[in-house]
């Protein structure tokens, strides 16, 4: 039984079958759709370039052929002693192996007026459809949060012809995840695309009569808005695991084999927290590549095989004609090396080093550098600073 028809869930179900799982496979999801690719939600799907059918991870026929049952429901509770789950729509199901792929949900904004009509979050296809309906050219969109989701949404909506403002509470966009130079680059390109980026902009409240009409900032200024999208991060869905008595620490804790603290339960995807030896700490990732890998490892574990989570995490973000590819995690860096100039043009790479070793890289329109960085980090990060600065372009 797989809980959560997410990227990880769909992969896990398919991998179980491939790995020789003979029994029944039930994939429980409550979005009412086939499992779909989530990254395009704030990018191509929001921009209206894909249909949901095109984004389905596998077709309905695939699940039928693999005898994977898709159950439109959600799980309320797990009874580990009996090996059963209780379903929200009534009834319960027994399991031999349980896989938790419950994902993450958006963090809610705790400001007055956040529940007004016209205020959206962006995580699911349903969210995006609502935003798309409201996103007619010329309207004013205010995005709260200058992280990846916020900036991608800004790029997509500005492409649809809306007037877009981005409100970031801290000093710079992407402040939590990149070097100041990279933040400055994204700040610049959004301004070049006529997006109004405001940093140190703390939201006091959202105002409007029946619909949202503006966002009031701490200084008292009101930014007018026809629609507001809040993108201030996600929280892992760990309640089910916690209530079942599994160890939870920012995410459902899993080992290298994707096992939770209960050996009969595996977990994969955005809901998990995994000790990464490469970085020497437990990390919760929001990454498709990691979700996929964890799901494969979890399926192997459930089938009684031994595989380990080892891959280097990587991420990407599409904004306008910019593709940012990120290799590794830069937390704890003490030095950066730039190749190319983030202050001009639209291609450069920012390498992050810790004690002289490469630990991560932000590559802007530089797929060759991205590939190179991944290799170096996987090999242990030893690299000359000159080599980084002089890497071939492209």
């Amino acid at each position: 039984m797989v809980v959560g028809a997410s990227h990880a869930g769909a992969q896990l179900a398919a991998s179980l079958r491939q790995g020789g799982w003979k029994g029944e496979i039930v994939l429980v999801g409550d979005e009412g759709t086939l499992p779909y690719q989530r990254p395009p939600m704030s990018k191509a799907y929001l921009a209206g370039k894909n249909t949901l059918d095109q984004l389905a991870i596998r077709s309905a026929a695939f699940y039928a052929k693999q005898e994977i049952t898709l159950l439109d429901d959600s799980v309320q509770a797990v009874d580990r002693t009996d090996g059963r789950v209780t379903l929200s729509r009534g009834g319960s199901l027994a399991y031999d192996e349980l896989a938790l792929c419950t994902g993450a949900r958006v963090r809610r904004l705790a400001a007055p007026g956040a529940d007004l009509c016209g205020v959206h979050y962006l995580r699911t296809a349903a969210d995006v459809e609502l935003i798309r309906e409201a996103a007619s050219p010329g309207r004013r969109a205010v995005i709260i949060g200058g992280g990846y989701i916020g900036l991608e949404t800004a790029a997509s909506l500005s492409g649809l012809g809306l007037q877009v403002s981005v409100l970031e509470a801290t000093e710079r966009v992407l402040g939590r995840v990149t070097a100041p130079e990279v933040s400055a680059f994204f700040d610049r390109i959004h301004r070049e695309e006529a997006v109004d980026v405001r940093t140190k902009a703390t939201v006091e409240e959202l105002v409007g009569t029946d619909r949202v009409q503006g966002v009031v900032l701490a200084g008292g200024e009101t930014v007018p808005a026809d629609l507001v999208i809040i993108g201030i991060g996600v929280e892992p869905n760990t309640e089910l695991a916690a209530a079942a008595g599994l160890q939870v620490d920012d995410g459902v804790v899993i080992d290298d084999h994707a096992r939770t603290s209960d050996p009969a339960i595996v977990a994969a995807g955005d809901c998990t927290s995994h000790l990464m030896t490469r970085y020497g700490r437990r990390i919760r990732l929001e990454s498709v590549s990691s979700a996929t890998e964890q799901a494969k490892v979890a399926a192997a574990t459930a089938c009684g095989k031994s595989q380990r989570i080892t891959a280097l995490p990587w991420f990407w973000s599409d904004q306008y004609d910019v593709k940012l590819q990120i290799a590794g995690i830069n937390t704890g860096y003490d030095e950066i090396v730039l190749n190319g100039d983030p202050a001009e043009g639209r291609d450069f790479t920012c390498y992050y080093l810790r004690r002289g070793e490469l630990i991560a890289a932000d590559c802007v329109n530089r797929p060759r550098d991205f590939m190179f960085s991944k290799q170096v980090i996987i090999r242990g990060g030893q690299v000359g600073r000159d080599e980084l600065a002089l890497q071939a372009v492209g």
Binding site: A10, Q11, A14, G19, Q37, P39, K49, Q54, I57, R58, S59, F62, V288, S289, T292, K296, A300, K305, Q307, W314, W316, D318, D321, K323, N365, P367, R368, F370, M371, F372, Q375, A392, V393, G394
Partner: protein, 463 residues
Amino acid sequence: MTKIREAITAKVQATIPMERQIQGAHLYDKTRRWVTGTNGQKMFVESPIPPVDDLEIGEIDLSNPFLYRQGRWQSYFERLRKEAPVHYQANSPFGPFWSVTRHADIIAVDKNHDVFSAEPFIVIGVPPRFMDIEMFIAMDPPRHDLQRQAVQGVVAPKNLREMEGLIRSRVREVLDDLPVDEPFDWVQKVSVELTARMLATLLDFPYEQRRKLVQWSDLAASMEQTNGGPSDNDEVFAEMRSTVRELSALWYDKAARLAGGEEPGFDLITMLQSNENTKDLIDRPMEFLGNLTLLIVGGNDTTRNSMSGGVLALNQFPEQFEKLKANPDLIPNMVSEIIRWQTPLAYMRRIAKKDTILNGQFIREGDKVVMWYASGNRDEAVFERPDELIIDRPNARNHIAFGFGVHRCMGNRLAEMQLRILWEELLTRFEDIDVVADPEYVQSNFVRGISRLMVRLTPKATG
């Protein structure tokens, strides 16, 4: 006057053995190099190519054979597409030429063979004197049509269906022998090996000597006078003589077996022999050599570099590899997308047969016009996020890597089939194909080739 010269050439070619002719051409070329003092001198020495924004528009020279290797080509093409889509370079080492860089303009030129002639060559430069072998890719209708028709059957749908099983079993042999969990060169062990096997099959060439075809093809496709490649002319001539020897032997062997009542095979040579227009091709040596070379080169570099390029692209855009693994039904569309992304041949050249106007530029009769497929396939007006590999790109099939019009690649279905089978078989065996070192690229303005691609394979978990 031309008629008489053609007649004399034909007579000479029919009387003097092919090997002698090549020897003569070699001697001529040596003398030329000696007289001009260029012997042992390279036309091209690699130096760093400046960012495109440091240049005036007229200085942009797409014939630089290091543009692809140094990764500058995207920005060069992009600037021309934006600022000068039909661009004149007056002073290239290959002489003056026009560059056409937008998708729509390229199609307009490629379709219009009445105005834009493929004769006498389809590369920017000129082959060594007396080495101007003739091939139908560089002929206009009606001569082109007759010769192409003669060999087209080898890649007819029926023949392809028959070949599919054979190709699959050869792909499996190659893949099953690959080392796992240790680095090796994908180009040599997979791309070259598979294309060599395919060529040997198409020509019914002695199987154990299949690498000779590759060696020959590589030399023929990398002459510096034609496209800025690194081939040494003495080596090319020597190799050419041995090729001619072996291909003629193959021809006569086939003819003898056919005459002896043997069942005709479904290979290229047999096809040429059984067609009215090409049955005495052996008496027109430069055409004989030309058309066989065309089919060898055409089936070699192109497929090879698409096989390597696919692996490279999926490493540069790993989210696409994840997408592929999650849904192998995307393989056929991905094959088109890989061919678009790689565009293994950068361009084809034409000559204006009369004064004409193309996208506002006046082109004179006799001017060289180069259609940069590699640029058309990155045209932002046609392809969204053109520099990215997007395996489920809806219009991937609108790429022009195969050309457009009468010269559209004859082997396109075969190429697609080979790539499709390769990826189908790869996905069942390997979890990951990781590029573990920076790739090395070919020196050429024509072939967009990858000469070395170190990878490590992770087998699928079993048991």
